[in-house]
Symmetry: C2
Subunit: 315 residues, 2 copies
């Protein structure tokens, strides 16, 4: 089958054997989105060799349980052992023996086919289009914040960054009914937010030490430092992005102000699908462009340009 | 009066005017302890000019409410405005306009007298000796951890560091009944812990990613990194010490493992006094040496030697 291959920070479209894991579902990929993590892997932030890609919607074409065949599905990206301490303590996304679709020890979805265990699959409701279903994984990641902390109506919540993930976080937090403001750099990011009635704020308007909850979604040291300054004593900083290499941080200020810093990663697929079905969020506004699998390398180039939102591949 | 004066990282014993704040209690200092923060101020980590010192027990000799006169007291070190957002939201130790005894914009206790508002004072129960009462402030700081997070009996708790504050943290956590282990560098630190039946652990025995709660009380980058490696996914790192300058940190690992990092500073005086009164903790084992106010500079030199626990000054 045709697949995108990543090796030594080089992308190549090549012919590879169709995957064959009899214990897993064989999924024909319909559409797949390019995520910041994919771009970071190409830059060499994570060591990965193989087929990248983890945001997808596809169709089951073979499965140990044949009732799944023909189903349109999305898939939880962490494939877990079920027996390690993390799995036994209801932290499956932190499985010590996990492989991660297109990210760690498992080929991903920029290909004609992929495989996943049946327990990773979620049927996509008919009313959710393929274009929307691609967003299940990042939307779940956005929803993880509210799995981790309770956000009260009166909370002053600042979101720093309004890129791919930031937009989804903004849309989900707006539903929480809190006092939300978003720092968005680019005018087109700002327009997407104002169109949904979400409040913008400029860097100059952000009061230091006045925000109950600050969510950092830029992945840059500047964003981190701005978030740190904004959060109030005993407030919470939620980190939704990874950072390149190590970062120089004033940890003492976190101690003195008794800040809670919370890392946040993968979230609940079921809630994400329900939210897509309800129409309460609309990720489709993030679509920038569509490419074919044959054009996937060009698509990566496009996605890596500053300010581009979601690029997806149609197989 | 005689007082220790800190200016440009130099300590000097000098004659200064007796403090005169009619709205506050005038306190004759009986005993005062040297804390790591005092030593760090001398090293220039914090800008402070004036009389250092904040751990004390004293006797009220004058006060706006004369019923306090003659009382033996300890004092909460944060003097607050009562009207800022932090004060109005029950975070007085984070008052935006606070002065801090011997640390920030307020003379401290290495002197014959100091002053504090009456609302900062706590009467010391008769059964608590002067030597024990000095420990109220650091013991309160140790207790702050359990104000911030709930520690369950089954929790695997690792304490990294067993110096002045670490010993008090160990004693208070041991009362929480959790599965506690302490990494203590020096044999005399280890002996104090084993004498109380507290489990030790060596660095080689610490499993990576297996501890529910890790408390960092070394203030060193090595201690921080060790604590980070030890804590399990979705576990909690409590930071009880400040660090010199900025530190290089792998923030991405905190995001990927969804760690909670929690800064922790001043704590509840009332609980600390109750604990001292009950005899459930025994800080007196930390006493290394006693000096007079005239010998205070020598006392600082002694306190700054590696592995020394509590040095105190008797006025």
């Amino acid at each position: 089958m045709k697949a995108l291959w990543l090796e030594n920070q080089k992308l190549e479209l090549r012919e590879v054997p169709k995957p064959d894991r009899p214990n897993e579902a064989l999924i024909r990929i319909r559409k797949a989105g390019i995520c910041s993590t994919d771009l970071e892997m190409v830059k060499g932030y994570y060591p990965f060799t193989g087929i990248p890609g983890h945001e997808f919607v596809g169709e089951v074409v073979d499965a140990p349980d044949r009732s799944w065949i023909g189903q349109r599905v999305v898939g939880e990206i962490n494939v877990v052992c079920g027996t390690c301490e993390s799995c036994l303590n209801e932290r499956p996304t932190h499985c010590e023996n996990r492989t991660v679709l297109g990210i760690s020890n498992r080929n991903g979805v920029f290909a004609e086919y992929t495989t996943l265990p049946l327990e990773n699959l979620y049927r996509v409701p008919d009313s959710v289009s393929d274009e929307m279903a691609i967003f299940t994984e990042p939307l779940a990641a956005a929803l993880e914040i509210q799995q981790q902390i309770q956000i009260e109506q009166a909370d002053r919540v600042l979101l720093v960054g309004a890129g791919r993930l930031g937009q989804l976080i903004a849309q989900t937090l707006a539903l929480a009914g809190c006092n939300l403001h978003v720092l968005a750099r680019h005018p087109f990011q700002q327009n997407l937010l104002t169109a949904r009635g979400i409040n913008l704020i400029s860097e100059a308007e952000i009061n230091s030490g006045k925000w109950d909850i600050v969510i950092e979604a830029t992945g840059s040291p500047d964003g981190f430092n701005l978030a740190r300054k904004a959060v109030r004593p005993r407030g919470t900083m939620v980190l939704k992005s990874t950072y390149e290499g190590e970062m120089s941080v004033n940890i003492s200020s976190i101690v003195v102000d008794e800040i809670t810093v919370l890392g946040s990663r993968c979230g609940p697929f079921e809630s994400a699908l329900q939210l897509l079905e309800s129409g309460a969020v609309d990720p489709s506004v993030l679509m920038t462009a569509k490419y074919s699998l044959g054009e996937v390398i060009e698509a990566f180039k496009h996605a890596s340009q500053p300010g581009v939102l979601k690029i997806y591949i149609e197989m």
